[in-house]
Symmetry: C2
Subunit: 298 residues, 2 copies
Protein backbone atom coordinates (compact mmCIF):
# COMPACT_ATOMS: atom_id res chain seq x y z
CA UNK A 1 0.00 0.00 0.00
CA UNK A 2 1.27 3.44 -0.91
CA UNK A 3 2.28 5.66 2.01
CA UNK A 4 1.06 9.23 1.52
CA UNK A 5 3.82 11.82 1.76
CA UNK A 6 1.52 14.77 2.39
CA UNK A 7 0.04 15.82 5.71
CA UNK A 8 -3.46 16.05 7.09
CA UNK A 9 -4.42 18.48 9.83
CA UNK A 10 -7.88 17.83 11.25
CA UNK A 11 -9.21 20.41 13.72
CA UNK A 12 -12.18 19.95 16.02
CA UNK A 13 -13.70 23.42 15.72
CA UNK A 14 -13.99 26.16 18.26
CA UNK A 15 -15.66 26.57 21.59
CA UNK A 16 -19.02 28.35 21.22
CA UNK A 17 -18.04 29.48 17.75
CA UNK A 18 -17.10 27.67 14.56
CA UNK A 19 -20.08 25.87 13.08
CA UNK A 20 -22.60 27.48 15.41
CA UNK A 21 -22.11 30.40 13.14
CA UNK A 22 -23.91 28.36 10.50
CA UNK A 23 -27.18 28.86 12.32
CA UNK A 24 -27.39 32.36 10.92
CA UNK A 25 -25.87 34.82 13.33
CA UNK A 26 -22.25 35.67 12.90
CA UNK A 27 -20.32 35.42 16.13
CA UNK A 28 -18.55 38.65 16.97
CA UNK A 29 -15.30 36.96 17.85
CA UNK A 30 -15.54 34.44 15.07
CA UNK A 31 -12.19 35.71 13.89
CA UNK A 32 -10.61 33.60 16.59
CA UNK A 33 -12.61 30.56 15.60
CA UNK A 34 -9.63 28.52 16.48
CA UNK A 35 -6.43 29.42 18.13
CA UNK A 36 -3.68 30.94 16.10
CA UNK A 37 -1.29 28.30 17.42
CA UNK A 38 -3.00 25.70 15.27
CA UNK A 39 -2.94 27.96 12.20
CA UNK A 40 0.76 28.57 12.81
CA UNK A 41 1.38 24.84 12.84
CA UNK A 42 -0.46 24.44 9.53
CA UNK A 43 1.64 27.17 7.96
CA UNK A 44 4.84 25.71 9.38
CA UNK A 45 4.06 22.21 8.10
CA UNK A 46 3.43 23.62 4.61
CA UNK A 47 6.80 25.43 4.54
CA UNK A 48 6.18 28.92 5.89
CA UNK A 49 4.11 32.07 5.49
CA UNK A 50 4.90 32.63 1.83
CA UNK A 51 3.41 29.36 0.61
CA UNK A 52 0.06 29.50 -1.16
CA UNK A 53 -3.03 28.60 0.90
CA UNK A 54 -6.46 28.05 -0.66
CA UNK A 55 -9.41 28.15 1.73
CA UNK A 56 -12.37 26.09 0.49
CA UNK A 57 -15.56 27.46 2.05
CA UNK A 58 -17.89 24.92 0.44
CA UNK A 59 -19.17 23.36 3.68
CA UNK A 60 -20.41 26.70 5.00
CA UNK A 61 -23.71 28.42 4.26
CA UNK A 62 -22.11 31.79 4.98
CA UNK A 63 -18.95 31.38 2.88
CA UNK A 64 -18.12 35.05 2.51
CA UNK A 65 -18.04 35.79 6.23
CA UNK A 66 -16.25 32.54 7.03
CA UNK A 67 -13.74 33.18 4.25
CA UNK A 68 -13.08 36.69 5.48
CA UNK A 69 -12.35 35.30 8.94
CA UNK A 70 -9.79 32.88 7.54
CA UNK A 71 -8.10 35.66 5.57
CA UNK A 72 -7.91 37.74 8.74
CA UNK A 73 -6.64 34.88 10.88
CA UNK A 74 -3.95 33.80 8.41
CA UNK A 75 -3.11 37.48 7.90
CA UNK A 76 -2.55 37.90 11.62
CA UNK A 77 0.27 35.39 11.52
CA UNK A 78 1.80 37.01 8.47
CA UNK A 79 0.49 34.87 5.59
CA UNK A 80 0.32 36.98 2.46
CA UNK A 81 -0.54 34.36 -0.12
CA UNK A 82 -4.01 33.19 0.90
CA UNK A 83 -7.13 33.08 -1.22
CA UNK A 84 -10.68 31.78 -1.00
CA UNK A 85 -12.43 29.23 -3.20
CA UNK A 86 -16.18 29.74 -2.87
CA UNK A 87 -17.20 26.51 -4.57
CA UNK A 88 -20.96 26.31 -4.00
CA UNK A 89 -21.96 23.30 -6.13
CA UNK A 90 -20.71 20.58 -8.48
CA UNK A 91 -20.73 22.99 -11.43
CA UNK A 92 -18.28 25.26 -9.59
CA UNK A 93 -16.14 22.25 -8.73
CA UNK A 94 -15.27 21.66 -12.42
CA UNK A 95 -14.37 25.30 -13.02
CA UNK A 96 -10.94 25.31 -14.68
CA UNK A 97 -9.72 28.23 -12.61
CA UNK A 98 -10.29 26.29 -9.39
CA UNK A 99 -8.62 23.21 -10.82
CA UNK A 100 -5.54 25.23 -11.71
CA UNK A 101 -5.49 26.76 -8.25
CA UNK A 102 -5.59 23.45 -6.40
CA UNK A 103 -2.68 22.34 -8.59
CA UNK A 104 -0.60 25.32 -7.53
CA UNK A 105 -1.17 25.81 -3.81
CA UNK A 106 0.77 24.20 -0.96
CA UNK A 107 -2.17 23.98 1.46
CA UNK A 108 -5.90 23.57 1.14
CA UNK A 109 -8.04 24.38 4.16
CA UNK A 110 -11.64 23.13 4.27
CA UNK A 111 -13.83 25.37 6.45
CA UNK A 112 -16.53 24.17 8.81
CA UNK A 113 -20.22 23.91 7.99
CA UNK A 114 -21.96 20.78 6.76
CA UNK A 115 -19.72 17.88 5.86
CA UNK A 116 -22.41 16.40 3.62
CA UNK A 117 -21.95 19.41 1.34
CA UNK A 118 -18.28 18.42 0.99
CA UNK A 119 -18.97 14.80 0.05
CA UNK A 120 -21.88 15.63 -2.27
CA UNK A 121 -20.09 18.48 -4.06
CA UNK A 122 -16.56 17.03 -4.31
CA UNK A 123 -17.27 13.28 -4.48
CA UNK A 124 -15.95 11.86 -7.77
CA UNK A 125 -14.65 15.22 -9.09
CA UNK A 126 -11.34 15.87 -10.83
CA UNK A 127 -10.64 18.55 -8.24
CA UNK A 128 -10.78 16.01 -5.39
CA UNK A 129 -8.72 13.57 -7.45
CA UNK A 130 -5.98 16.18 -7.82
CA UNK A 131 -5.98 16.86 -4.09
CA UNK A 132 -5.77 13.14 -3.30
CA UNK A 133 -2.91 12.65 -5.73
CA UNK A 134 -0.97 15.62 -4.43
CA UNK A 135 -1.55 14.49 -0.84
CA UNK A 136 -0.26 11.03 -1.71
CA UNK A 137 2.78 12.10 -3.70
CA UNK A 138 4.01 15.50 -2.56
CA UNK A 139 5.97 16.06 0.57
CA UNK A 140 4.68 18.93 2.71
CA UNK A 141 1.43 19.25 0.77
CA UNK A 142 -1.08 19.97 3.51
CA UNK A 143 -4.78 19.22 3.58
CA UNK A 144 -6.32 20.94 6.61
CA UNK A 145 -9.91 21.09 7.75
CA UNK A 146 -11.89 22.33 10.70
CA UNK A 147 -15.10 20.86 12.08
CA UNK A 148 -17.02 19.63 8.99
CA UNK A 149 -13.79 20.03 7.04
CA UNK A 150 -12.06 17.64 9.47
CA UNK A 151 -14.90 15.12 9.57
CA UNK A 152 -14.95 14.84 5.78
CA UNK A 153 -11.28 13.81 5.60
CA UNK A 154 -11.81 10.17 6.41
CA UNK A 155 -13.28 7.56 4.13
CA UNK A 156 -15.98 6.87 6.72
CA UNK A 157 -17.80 10.08 7.60
CA UNK A 158 -20.49 10.81 10.17
CA UNK A 159 -22.85 13.39 8.69
CA UNK A 160 -25.61 13.48 11.29
CA UNK A 161 -26.40 12.20 14.78
CA UNK A 162 -28.00 13.92 17.74
CA UNK A 163 -25.72 13.37 20.74
CA UNK A 164 -28.62 12.93 23.14
CA UNK A 165 -30.14 10.12 21.05
CA UNK A 166 -26.87 8.56 19.91
CA UNK A 167 -27.38 5.48 22.11
CA UNK A 168 -30.14 4.42 19.70
CA UNK A 169 -29.20 2.28 16.73
CA UNK A 170 -29.46 4.17 13.47
CA UNK A 171 -29.36 7.67 14.99
CA UNK A 172 -25.78 8.12 13.79
CA UNK A 173 -25.76 8.57 10.02
CA UNK A 174 -22.65 7.62 8.10
CA UNK A 175 -21.57 7.92 4.49
CA UNK A 176 -18.37 8.07 2.49
CA UNK A 177 -16.10 11.05 3.10
CA UNK A 178 -13.42 12.55 0.88
CA UNK A 179 -11.13 9.59 1.51
CA UNK A 180 -7.84 11.21 2.51
CA UNK A 181 -7.49 8.60 5.23
CA UNK A 182 -8.94 5.14 5.76
CA UNK A 183 -9.55 3.23 8.96
CA UNK A 184 -10.59 6.23 11.02
CA UNK A 185 -13.82 8.10 11.69
CA UNK A 186 -13.24 11.70 12.70
CA UNK A 187 -15.72 13.55 14.91
CA UNK A 188 -15.49 17.20 15.94
CA UNK A 189 -16.68 19.49 18.77
CA UNK A 190 -16.29 16.32 20.78
CA UNK A 191 -16.35 17.50 24.36
CA UNK A 192 -18.65 20.47 24.17
CA UNK A 193 -21.30 18.55 22.27
CA UNK A 194 -20.92 15.31 24.22
CA UNK A 195 -20.32 13.02 21.27
CA UNK A 196 -18.71 10.01 22.92
CA UNK A 197 -21.67 7.66 22.45
CA UNK A 198 -22.21 8.89 18.89
CA UNK A 199 -18.63 8.04 17.90
CA UNK A 200 -18.82 4.76 19.82
CA UNK A 201 -21.85 3.76 17.75
CA UNK A 202 -19.97 4.55 14.53
CA UNK A 203 -17.00 2.46 15.71
CA UNK A 204 -19.25 -0.40 16.84
CA UNK A 205 -20.78 -0.79 13.37
CA UNK A 206 -17.30 -1.52 12.01
CA UNK A 207 -14.41 -1.74 14.45
CA UNK A 208 -11.88 -1.63 11.61
CA UNK A 209 -12.23 2.14 11.97
CA UNK A 210 -10.72 3.95 14.94
CA UNK A 211 -12.80 6.85 16.25
CA UNK A 212 -10.95 10.17 16.53
CA UNK A 213 -12.93 12.62 18.68
CA UNK A 214 -11.48 16.12 18.27
CA UNK A 215 -12.19 18.62 21.05
CA UNK A 216 -12.59 22.32 20.44
CA UNK A 217 -9.39 24.26 19.67
CA UNK A 218 -7.73 20.90 19.18
CA UNK A 219 -6.49 18.94 16.21
CA UNK A 220 -4.50 16.01 14.93
CA UNK A 221 -1.57 16.35 12.55
CA UNK A 222 -1.46 13.12 10.55
CA UNK A 223 1.68 12.05 8.70
CA UNK A 224 2.42 8.89 6.71
CA UNK A 225 -1.36 8.41 6.62
CA UNK A 226 -0.91 6.80 10.01
CA UNK A 227 0.92 8.75 12.66
CA UNK A 228 -1.10 11.29 14.61
CA UNK A 229 0.13 14.09 16.80
CA UNK A 230 -2.29 16.05 18.98
CA UNK A 231 -2.07 19.83 18.66
CA UNK A 232 -3.96 22.72 20.25
CA UNK A 233 -5.28 23.42 23.74
CA UNK A 234 -7.82 20.64 24.33
CA UNK A 235 -7.88 16.87 24.08
CA UNK A 236 -8.51 14.21 21.48
CA UNK A 237 -10.44 11.08 22.47
CA UNK A 238 -9.51 7.93 20.58
CA UNK A 239 -11.97 5.01 20.49
CA UNK A 240 -10.54 1.67 19.41
CA UNK A 241 -13.07 -1.12 18.87
CA UNK A 242 -10.61 -3.81 17.88
CA UNK A 243 -11.02 -5.75 21.11
CA UNK A 244 -14.81 -5.50 21.36
CA UNK A 245 -15.94 -8.81 22.85
CA UNK A 246 -19.68 -8.30 22.56
CA UNK A 247 -21.99 -5.89 20.81
CA UNK A 248 -25.68 -6.25 20.05
CA UNK A 249 -25.80 -3.59 17.36
CA UNK A 250 -26.23 -5.97 14.44
CA UNK A 251 -29.07 -7.82 16.10
CA UNK A 252 -31.35 -5.15 17.55
CA UNK A 253 -34.01 -3.21 15.61
CA UNK A 254 -33.36 0.37 14.51
CA UNK A 255 -34.15 2.84 17.27
CA UNK A 256 -33.20 0.49 20.12
CA UNK A 257 -30.33 1.19 22.51
CA UNK A 258 -27.14 -0.67 21.69
CA UNK A 259 -24.46 -2.12 23.94
CA UNK A 260 -20.74 -2.73 23.62
CA UNK A 261 -18.30 -4.64 25.79
CA UNK A 262 -14.69 -3.52 25.79
CA UNK A 263 -13.87 -0.44 23.84
CA UNK A 264 -10.34 0.85 24.34
CA UNK A 265 -10.16 4.59 24.85
CA UNK A 266 -7.20 6.97 24.92
CA UNK A 267 -7.21 10.66 25.76
CA UNK A 268 -4.49 12.63 23.99
CA UNK A 269 -3.34 16.13 24.73
CA UNK A 270 -0.87 18.31 22.81
CA UNK A 271 2.27 16.35 22.07
CA UNK A 272 0.77 12.89 22.55
CA UNK A 273 0.55 10.69 19.50
CA UNK A 274 -1.30 7.70 18.11
CA UNK A 275 -0.49 5.17 15.43
CA UNK A 276 -3.64 4.13 13.57
CA UNK A 277 -2.42 0.86 12.07
CA UNK A 278 -0.68 -0.31 15.21
CA UNK A 279 -3.48 1.07 17.40
CA UNK A 280 -0.83 2.42 19.71
CA UNK A 281 -0.88 5.46 21.99
CA UNK A 282 2.40 7.40 22.12
CA UNK A 283 3.14 9.52 25.21
CA UNK A 284 5.49 11.53 22.99
CA UNK A 285 4.37 11.80 19.37
CA UNK A 286 7.92 12.80 18.48
CA UNK A 287 9.23 9.45 19.66
CA UNK A 288 9.15 7.58 16.42
CA UNK A 289 7.92 4.14 17.48
CA UNK A 290 6.78 1.94 14.63
CA UNK A 291 5.14 3.70 11.69
CA UNK A 292 3.17 2.32 8.80
CA UNK A 293 6.10 3.22 6.58
CA UNK A 294 8.47 1.02 8.51
CA UNK A 295 5.98 -1.79 8.70
CA UNK A 296 4.99 -1.94 5.07
CA UNK A 297 8.07 -0.75 3.22
CA UNK A 298 11.38 -2.45 3.82
Amino acid sequence: MQIPTGKLIAIGGAEDKGTEVEKGELHKNNLNFFELGILRRIVEEAGGIKKRIEVITTASMIPFQVGENYLNAFGKIGCVNVDLMHIRNRADAVNKEYIERVKNCKTVMFSGGNQLRLSTIFGGTQLLQILLERYHKEESFVVAGTSAGAMAMSNTMIYEGNAARAHLKGEVKITTGLGFIDDVIIDSHFEKRGRFIRLAQAVATNPSCVGIGLGEDTGMLITDGNKMEAIGSGCVTIIDGQDIRFSNIADIPEGNPFSIDNLKVHICEKGNGYLVTEKQFLPEASEGAVTKKQVHVE
Copy 2:
Protein backbone atom coordinates in the same frame (compact mmCIF):
# COMPACT_ATOMS: atom_id res chain seq x y z
CA MET B 1 -15.76 -8.09 53.65
CA GLN B 2 -19.45 -7.95 54.40
CA ILE B 3 -21.76 -8.30 51.39
CA PRO B 4 -24.66 -5.83 51.61
CA THR B 5 -28.05 -7.52 51.30
CA GLY B 6 -29.94 -4.36 50.34
CA LYS B 7 -30.22 -2.81 46.91
CA LEU B 8 -29.09 0.42 45.36
CA ILE B 9 -30.87 2.02 42.42
CA ALA B 10 -28.95 4.91 40.89
CA ILE B 11 -30.76 6.89 38.18
CA GLY B 12 -29.12 9.33 35.78
CA GLY B 13 -31.83 12.00 35.74
CA ALA B 14 -34.16 13.08 33.01
CA GLU B 15 -33.76 14.55 29.59
CA ASP B 16 -34.19 18.36 29.71
CA LYS B 17 -35.80 18.04 33.11
CA GLY B 18 -34.62 16.80 36.47
CA THR B 19 -31.93 19.00 37.90
CA GLU B 20 -32.42 21.75 35.32
CA VAL B 21 -35.45 22.49 37.41
CA GLU B 22 -33.04 23.61 40.11
CA LYS B 23 -32.23 26.72 38.13
CA GLY B 24 -35.51 28.26 39.24
CA GLU B 25 -38.20 27.55 36.71
CA LEU B 26 -40.34 24.51 37.23
CA HIS B 27 -40.64 22.40 34.13
CA LYS B 28 -44.23 21.85 33.14
CA ASN B 29 -43.80 18.16 32.59
CA ASN B 30 -41.51 17.68 35.49
CA LEU B 31 -43.94 15.10 36.75
CA ASN B 32 -42.39 12.70 34.28
CA PHE B 33 -38.91 13.56 35.38
CA PHE B 34 -38.03 10.01 34.82
CA GLU B 35 -39.93 7.21 33.26
CA LEU B 36 -42.46 5.34 35.32
CA GLY B 37 -40.78 2.09 34.28
CA ILE B 38 -37.84 2.89 36.53
CA LEU B 39 -40.13 3.85 39.43
CA ARG B 40 -42.00 0.57 38.96
CA ARG B 41 -38.75 -1.32 39.21
CA ILE B 42 -37.87 0.46 42.46
CA VAL B 43 -41.25 -0.41 43.92
CA GLU B 44 -40.98 -4.01 42.75
CA GLU B 45 -37.51 -4.44 44.24
CA ALA B 46 -38.77 -3.12 47.58
CA GLY B 47 -41.66 -5.59 47.68
CA GLY B 48 -44.61 -3.86 46.04
CA ILE B 49 -46.82 -0.78 46.15
CA LYS B 50 -47.80 -1.08 49.79
CA LYS B 51 -44.30 -0.78 51.17
CA ARG B 52 -43.31 2.49 52.77
CA ILE B 53 -41.26 4.92 50.65
CA GLU B 54 -39.57 8.01 52.08
CA VAL B 55 -38.49 10.63 49.57
CA ILE B 56 -35.57 12.74 50.81
CA THR B 57 -35.60 16.11 49.03
CA THR B 58 -32.48 17.46 50.69
CA ALA B 59 -30.39 17.89 47.52
CA SER B 60 -33.00 20.15 45.91
CA MET B 61 -33.44 23.88 46.37
CA ILE B 62 -37.14 23.55 45.48
CA PRO B 63 -37.99 20.61 47.73
CA PHE B 64 -41.74 21.15 47.86
CA GLN B 65 -42.27 21.11 44.11
CA VAL B 66 -39.85 18.22 43.64
CA GLY B 67 -41.47 16.30 46.48
CA GLU B 68 -44.93 16.86 45.02
CA ASN B 69 -43.72 15.44 41.72
CA TYR B 70 -42.45 12.29 43.40
CA LEU B 71 -45.76 11.83 45.25
CA ASN B 72 -47.61 12.21 41.95
CA ALA B 73 -45.29 9.87 40.08
CA PHE B 74 -45.37 7.12 42.73
CA GLY B 75 -49.13 7.69 43.03
CA LYS B 76 -49.53 7.08 39.30
CA ILE B 77 -48.21 3.56 39.71
CA GLY B 78 -50.43 2.91 42.72
CA CYS B 79 -48.12 3.56 45.66
CA VAL B 80 -50.19 4.71 48.65
CA ASN B 81 -47.55 4.73 51.35
CA VAL B 82 -45.17 7.46 50.27
CA ASP B 83 -44.04 10.48 52.27
CA LEU B 84 -41.54 13.31 51.97
CA MET B 85 -38.65 14.18 54.25
CA HIS B 86 -37.75 17.83 53.72
CA ILE B 87 -34.47 17.75 55.61
CA ARG B 88 -32.88 21.13 54.88
CA ASN B 89 -29.85 21.15 57.19
CA ARG B 90 -27.89 19.16 59.76
CA ALA B 91 -30.26 20.24 62.53
CA ASP B 92 -33.17 18.65 60.65
CA ALA B 93 -31.10 15.52 60.12
CA VAL B 94 -31.03 14.75 63.84
CA ASN B 95 -34.79 15.25 64.23
CA LYS B 96 -36.12 12.16 66.06
CA GLU B 97 -39.16 11.92 63.82
CA TYR B 98 -37.00 11.54 60.72
CA ILE B 99 -34.81 8.99 62.46
CA GLU B 100 -37.84 6.92 63.34
CA ARG B 101 -39.11 7.18 59.79
CA VAL B 102 -35.88 5.96 58.16
CA LYS B 103 -36.00 3.01 60.55
CA ASN B 104 -39.48 2.06 59.38
CA CYS B 105 -39.57 2.51 55.63
CA LYS B 106 -38.62 -0.07 52.98
CA THR B 107 -37.23 2.44 50.46
CA VAL B 108 -35.52 5.78 50.63
CA MET B 109 -35.35 7.86 47.48
CA PHE B 110 -32.89 10.75 47.28
CA SER B 111 -34.07 13.46 44.85
CA GLY B 112 -31.85 15.39 42.45
CA GLY B 113 -30.31 18.77 43.11
CA ASN B 114 -26.83 19.36 44.49
CA GLN B 115 -24.96 16.30 45.72
CA LEU B 116 -22.74 18.44 47.93
CA ARG B 117 -25.84 19.23 49.99
CA LEU B 118 -26.26 15.50 50.59
CA SER B 119 -22.69 14.91 51.74
CA THR B 120 -22.53 18.08 53.86
CA ILE B 121 -25.92 17.53 55.53
CA PHE B 122 -25.85 13.75 56.04
CA GLY B 123 -22.13 13.09 56.44
CA GLY B 124 -21.47 11.57 59.86
CA THR B 125 -25.11 11.63 61.02
CA GLN B 126 -26.99 8.90 62.84
CA LEU B 127 -29.62 9.04 60.11
CA LEU B 128 -27.04 8.07 57.46
CA GLN B 129 -25.62 5.42 59.77
CA ILE B 130 -29.07 3.82 60.08
CA LEU B 131 -29.51 3.80 56.31
CA LEU B 132 -26.08 2.26 55.80
CA GLU B 133 -26.79 -0.44 58.39
CA ARG B 134 -30.19 -1.26 56.98
CA TYR B 135 -28.74 -1.37 53.46
CA HIS B 136 -26.01 -3.71 54.61
CA LYS B 137 -28.21 -6.07 56.65
CA GLU B 138 -31.77 -6.08 55.34
CA GLU B 139 -32.84 -7.90 52.25
CA SER B 140 -34.95 -5.81 49.86
CA PHE B 141 -34.16 -2.57 51.65
CA VAL B 142 -33.80 -0.14 48.75
CA VAL B 143 -31.76 3.02 48.56
CA ALA B 144 -32.66 4.87 45.35
CA GLY B 145 -31.44 8.20 44.06
CA THR B 146 -31.72 10.26 40.93
CA SER B 147 -29.13 12.64 39.52
CA ALA B 148 -27.43 14.20 42.57
CA GLY B 149 -29.09 11.46 44.63
CA ALA B 150 -27.35 8.85 42.47
CA MET B 151 -23.98 10.58 42.41
CA ALA B 152 -23.89 10.78 46.21
CA MET B 153 -24.27 7.01 46.64
CA SER B 154 -20.65 6.15 46.06
CA ASN B 155 -17.81 6.75 48.45
CA THR B 156 -16.06 8.83 45.80
CA MET B 157 -18.35 11.61 44.61
CA ILE B 158 -17.92 14.20 41.86
CA TYR B 159 -19.53 17.43 43.04
CA GLU B 160 -18.49 19.86 40.32
CA GLY B 161 -16.85 19.88 36.91
CA ASN B 162 -17.71 21.79 33.76
CA ALA B 163 -17.89 19.27 30.91
CA ALA B 164 -16.30 21.64 28.40
CA ARG B 165 -13.26 22.19 30.61
CA ALA B 166 -13.04 18.65 32.00
CA HIS B 167 -9.88 17.89 30.00
CA LEU B 168 -8.01 20.25 32.34
CA LYS B 169 -6.49 18.81 35.51
CA GLY B 170 -8.33 19.96 38.61
CA GLU B 171 -11.56 21.00 36.86
CA VAL B 172 -13.32 17.92 38.20
CA LYS B 173 -13.94 18.31 41.91
CA ILE B 174 -14.28 15.22 44.06
CA THR B 175 -15.13 14.56 47.67
CA THR B 176 -16.52 11.76 49.82
CA GLY B 177 -20.08 10.70 49.10
CA LEU B 178 -22.57 8.87 51.32
CA GLY B 179 -20.61 5.65 51.01
CA PHE B 180 -23.23 3.09 50.06
CA ILE B 181 -20.79 1.65 47.55
CA ASP B 182 -17.03 1.73 47.21
CA ASP B 183 -14.88 1.39 44.13
CA VAL B 184 -17.19 3.30 41.81
CA ILE B 185 -17.72 6.93 40.85
CA ILE B 186 -21.24 7.62 39.63
CA ASP B 187 -21.97 10.41 37.18
CA SER B 188 -25.40 11.44 35.89
CA HIS B 189 -26.95 13.17 32.84
CA PHE B 190 -24.05 11.52 31.10
CA GLU B 191 -24.97 11.75 27.45
CA LYS B 192 -26.89 14.99 27.31
CA ARG B 193 -24.24 16.90 29.22
CA GLY B 194 -21.27 15.24 27.51
CA ARG B 195 -19.51 14.06 30.65
CA PHE B 196 -17.19 11.39 29.29
CA ILE B 197 -13.95 13.33 29.78
CA ARG B 198 -15.09 14.52 33.23
CA LEU B 199 -15.63 10.96 34.43
CA ALA B 200 -12.42 9.82 32.74
CA GLN B 201 -10.49 12.42 34.74
CA ALA B 202 -12.07 11.19 37.97
CA VAL B 203 -11.12 7.59 37.08
CA ALA B 204 -7.59 8.59 36.05
CA THR B 205 -6.86 10.11 39.45
CA ASN B 206 -7.50 6.72 41.04
CA PRO B 207 -8.21 3.77 38.78
CA SER B 208 -9.38 1.64 41.71
CA CYS B 209 -12.75 3.29 41.06
CA VAL B 210 -14.84 2.32 38.05
CA GLY B 211 -16.71 5.20 36.43
CA ILE B 212 -20.45 4.66 36.02
CA GLY B 213 -21.93 7.23 33.61
CA LEU B 214 -25.71 7.16 33.85
CA GLY B 215 -27.65 8.51 30.88
CA GLU B 216 -30.98 10.25 31.18
CA ASP B 217 -33.99 8.02 31.96
CA THR B 218 -31.48 5.31 32.77
CA GLY B 219 -30.25 3.65 35.92
CA MET B 220 -28.29 0.85 37.49
CA LEU B 221 -29.78 -1.61 39.98
CA ILE B 222 -26.92 -2.72 42.20
CA THR B 223 -27.15 -5.90 44.27
CA ASP B 224 -24.56 -7.58 46.51
CA GLY B 225 -22.77 -4.23 46.46
CA ASN B 226 -21.25 -5.44 43.22
CA LYS B 227 -23.61 -6.63 40.52
CA MET B 228 -25.13 -3.98 38.30
CA GLU B 229 -28.09 -4.28 35.98
CA ALA B 230 -28.93 -1.47 33.56
CA ILE B 231 -32.56 -0.30 33.62
CA GLY B 232 -34.48 2.39 31.73
CA SER B 233 -34.47 3.64 28.17
CA GLY B 234 -30.94 4.94 27.66
CA CYS B 235 -27.44 3.66 28.16
CA VAL B 236 -24.86 3.47 30.92
CA THR B 237 -21.20 4.09 30.06
CA ILE B 238 -18.68 2.24 32.20
CA ILE B 239 -15.09 3.48 32.37
CA ASP B 240 -12.54 1.04 33.76
CA GLY B 241 -9.06 2.43 34.36
CA GLN B 242 -7.49 -0.76 35.67
CA ASP B 243 -5.39 -1.29 32.55
CA ILE B 244 -4.23 2.32 32.10
CA ARG B 245 -0.68 2.10 30.81
CA PHE B 246 0.18 5.78 30.87
CA SER B 247 -1.30 8.91 32.34
CA ASN B 248 0.33 12.26 32.96
CA ILE B 249 -2.23 13.50 35.44
CA ALA B 250 0.00 13.26 38.51
CA ASP B 251 2.83 15.13 36.84
CA ILE B 252 1.23 18.11 35.11
CA PRO B 253 0.29 21.40 36.80
CA GLU B 254 -3.34 22.16 37.67
CA GLY B 255 -5.21 23.58 34.68
CA ASN B 256 -3.24 21.67 32.06
CA PRO B 257 -4.81 19.09 29.77
CA PHE B 258 -4.27 15.50 30.86
CA SER B 259 -3.77 12.34 28.84
CA ILE B 260 -4.56 8.67 29.38
CA ASP B 261 -3.55 5.57 27.46
CA ASN B 262 -5.90 2.61 27.56
CA LEU B 263 -9.17 3.08 29.34
CA LYS B 264 -11.61 0.20 28.92
CA VAL B 265 -15.14 1.35 28.16
CA HIS B 266 -18.42 -0.57 28.07
CA ILE B 267 -21.81 0.71 26.96
CA CYS B 268 -24.70 -1.02 28.72
CA GLU B 269 -28.35 -0.88 27.77
CA LYS B 270 -31.36 -2.24 29.65
CA GLY B 271 -30.69 -5.83 30.68
CA ASN B 272 -26.91 -5.69 30.36
CA GLY B 273 -24.94 -6.08 33.54
CA TYR B 274 -21.57 -5.31 35.05
CA LEU B 275 -19.63 -6.79 37.96
CA VAL B 276 -17.63 -4.11 39.74
CA THR B 277 -15.08 -6.29 41.53
CA GLU B 278 -14.48 -8.56 38.56
CA LYS B 279 -14.63 -5.60 36.13
CA GLN B 280 -16.72 -7.76 33.87
CA PHE B 281 -19.43 -6.76 31.38
CA LEU B 282 -22.41 -9.15 31.26
CA PRO B 283 -24.50 -9.28 28.08
CA GLU B 284 -27.33 -10.62 30.26
CA ALA B 285 -27.38 -9.23 33.78
CA SER B 286 -29.62 -12.12 34.76
CA GLU B 287 -26.92 -14.62 33.88
CA GLY B 288 -25.31 -14.92 37.24
CA ALA B 289 -21.64 -15.16 36.29
CA VAL B 290 -19.31 -14.69 39.21
CA THR B 291 -20.50 -12.36 41.95
CA LYS B 292 -18.67 -10.87 44.86
CA LYS B 293 -20.72 -13.11 47.10
CA GLN B 294 -19.48 -16.24 45.37
CA VAL B 295 -15.95 -14.97 45.29
CA HIS B 296 -15.63 -13.87 48.88
CA VAL B 297 -18.02 -16.15 50.75
CA GLU B 298 -17.72 -19.88 50.34
